[in-house]
Subunit: 479 residues, 2 copies
Amino acid sequence: MKILKVDVAIIGAGTAGLSAYRAAKAAGASAAIIEAGDYGTTCARVGCMPSKLLIAAADAADAVGKAPDFGIHVDGDIRIDGRAVMDRVRRERDRFVGFVLREVRDIPVAERIQGHARFVNDHTLAVADHTRVESKSIVIAAGSRADYPDSFKDLGDRLIISDDVFDWNDLPKAVAVIGPGIIGLELGQALHRLGVHVAVLGRGGRVGPISDPQIRAYALATFSGEFTLEPDAQIAHMRRHGERVAIGRAQPNGSSEIGYFDYVLAATGRTPNIKAIGLDNTTLRLDAKGVPLFDHVTTRTTSADGASPIFIAGDAGNFIPLLHEAADEGRIAGSNAARFALGKQVKPGLRRAPIGIVFTDPQIGIVGGGFHSMKPGTFATGQVSFEEQGRARMMLKNKGLLNVYGDLATGRFLGAEMLAPAAEHLAHLLSWSLQNKMTPAQMLEMPFYHPVVEEGMRTALRDLDVKLRAAQVYVSKAA
Amino acid sequence: MKILKVDVAIIGAGTAGLSAYRAAKAAGASAAIIEAGDYGTTCARVGCMPSKLLIAAADAADAVGKAPDFGIHVDGDIRIDGRAVMDRVRRERDRFVGFVLREVRDIPVAERIQGHARFVNDHTLAVADHTRVESKSIVIAAGSRADYPDSFKDLGDRLIISDDVFDWNDLPKAVAVIGPGIIGLELGQALHRLGVHVAVLGRGGRVGPISDPQIRAYALATFSGEFTLEPDAQIAHMRRHGERVAIGRAQPNGSSEIGYFDYVLAATGRTPNIKAIGLDNTTLRLDAKGVPLFDHVTTRTTSADGASPIFIAGDAGNFIPLLHEAADEGRIAGSNAARFALGKQVKPGLRRAPIGIVFTDPQIGIVGGGFHSMKPGTFATGQVSFEEQGRARMMLKNKGLLNVYGDLATGRFLGAEMLAPAAEHLAHLLSWSLQNKMTPAQMLEMPFYHPVVEEGMRTALRDLDVKLRAAQVYVSKAA
């Protein structure tokens, strides 16, 4: 067995791991990065990138369908070429993955190790049966994988996860998506718009990451007006039926309906890849799910003696499973792991205002901790509907509801939840304002062009400003 | 002749005038508003609103044309129904105008006067031959109108201005647009995408409001790759030819080309409606074009004795002919006119960071004073091309170039010029940052989701940040 001694060892060469590697090297430490599977990040291979490519095709199909409302007619049939759709998705996906592979190749061979890493102790990793890595500090950036109940396995090859969709050569006829979370909603709506018969079924009523009951109800009504979405479906049974899957669900009227699908897409959540890395051999404290406890401003884990040399970043820590957060966490973890290895104090890293976007149509946007993070009675809500919003109506994108929140005590903007046109852009403006600690009154002093969707957001901010003023909390500096 | 005595008289019931009226009343003054033409704002009747409706139809046609690149095929012809296109434009336009008319109707009859207003002196207006308005202060909000050289009049009914386009019942076959400014580019590209044969011709090389030579060159190459755009056309002659217009233009190779068009659309600029309001009878100081000199933070005009009771707002002052600026100026003018009438000091009003957007595809965005407003050698430029930008490429919107500017002395963000996908949204983020006096380093600490077009903007900001650091001007607070 080969022995490698480095300052910082990193488990996982995904977004967080690569970011940690660069940060550790930039901080003057020696480093090695260990990858158990194929190179290429979750985002590029099976996540944000291919899903947005599929959505781009779905949007194109939707635009063709809506063109007659503008006076643009198609004299003939609209034909969705599933092979061409998937070919572009895979081709462009491969291109994005290629950029990651190029970055990996730029890492000196001596510093990248392929194989499954397991902790031997807080400072030592065994990689497969070929290498022992001894390091002053370690970054866990092992990522996550799709997770589903064991009972689903009975479906055999009819059960797929989101990863599998992006290797399709053609579009299937019918797919049941189990789990109306971010992935389930994005893929479910996109496949529906590409002509696939889709049912998105959940349990408990959740619709994406929305926690505000008004926004959730609006989103549910909007999406279920377009495709089958039952966030609290009563699934009686789900079983193989030849080359298909039969799903029986109880209807509100007491009857039962059976649907047949080519695939069941399990979008029931993701689990950190930390079960098989030998955490038992470390001194780390774990939460109920077996994930190491850690300080999210330094990414340092907590050990029994309080002197942990181990940091955690990205989906492995499952704090916020988003690429930009994984990159930030990797940077903080790599930098702090290097500081620790070089005998320096660890430091809080830059954390940004929370922003979450779901690329459905309309899009979902969450800024700040969301409705569920706020204590009732401490905040006011400003609202706008996009149904009569000028610019949105011009583009026939006038579906949406935005709630913005303000703190009754400080008068500050707290965040927002929305289903809205251009939510990805509105969410950026709002999250920058949140990070800048602005009040709605200050936000209303900023420029708003005309006619833009941002003017809808301004209506909500005006509503919030009036409510905060009525609470006589703060005096605006507005003219 | 009827005599009306009020605190504040307002000439013009457009965006600026209505805003001034509301502000004057809110400040406790009595007010009267005088309109010479039809009610309804320039923006709603013939400006931002109907043009964006036409553009929405053009975008729909473009989306249908691009769908095959995503695997969405149309087995048959794409037919642009000009009557249906124009019907929606007019119907929705009328709806927007209806909102303005409703607002006008809510003004008490005694406070609105219809007729042409002329100054008798600094405190007196004669309206047509029926009313004499004596007021303590006056707001000029008379708006602007399309302007063109006298020689164009030889074209008779073949000469149109942008106002006329929105009353069309159908689309013509061929239109020459003279003037590649904001209106010329927007309408020219939209008509082209709606199947009209279009040539956009200018003199002097101007492309919209762009002053940065790199961005202008990129925009020219992009637009002229799609439709005929000659910003420095050598027009030899332009004359009626039966029911059409023949335009002869010299080609770079010395030859001459004659084009035939159904209409010549004069998009050669706008002029303030101040020639016929009797400014000679006031003590106001005028600039070379006859426009009253005024202080743009108070909107108060300058008189010989320095005690002018006259304020000016919106296109009449021609400072920045944009709706949101007109609304701001109206608010400031109305508020200050009321203060003046009530014996109080006038106050500086809220002015926002400059933002300009042209709704072409890609869009043009200008933030701050633009390239031409900065002194060479005092600023650094960060750049990004959108040709390989991830999200833009996914959506097949990967055309664009963005330059962001930073001040070498203070390290602050100064503004931007761009041709870019989603420029309307990027321009909001950038203009809010400008108004918040941020540095590129601080902007880079803000959240950027993935994958979004805003990440392209981040690349340009990183480039700018590196250049500002290299100039050792400031030390970033970035982690």
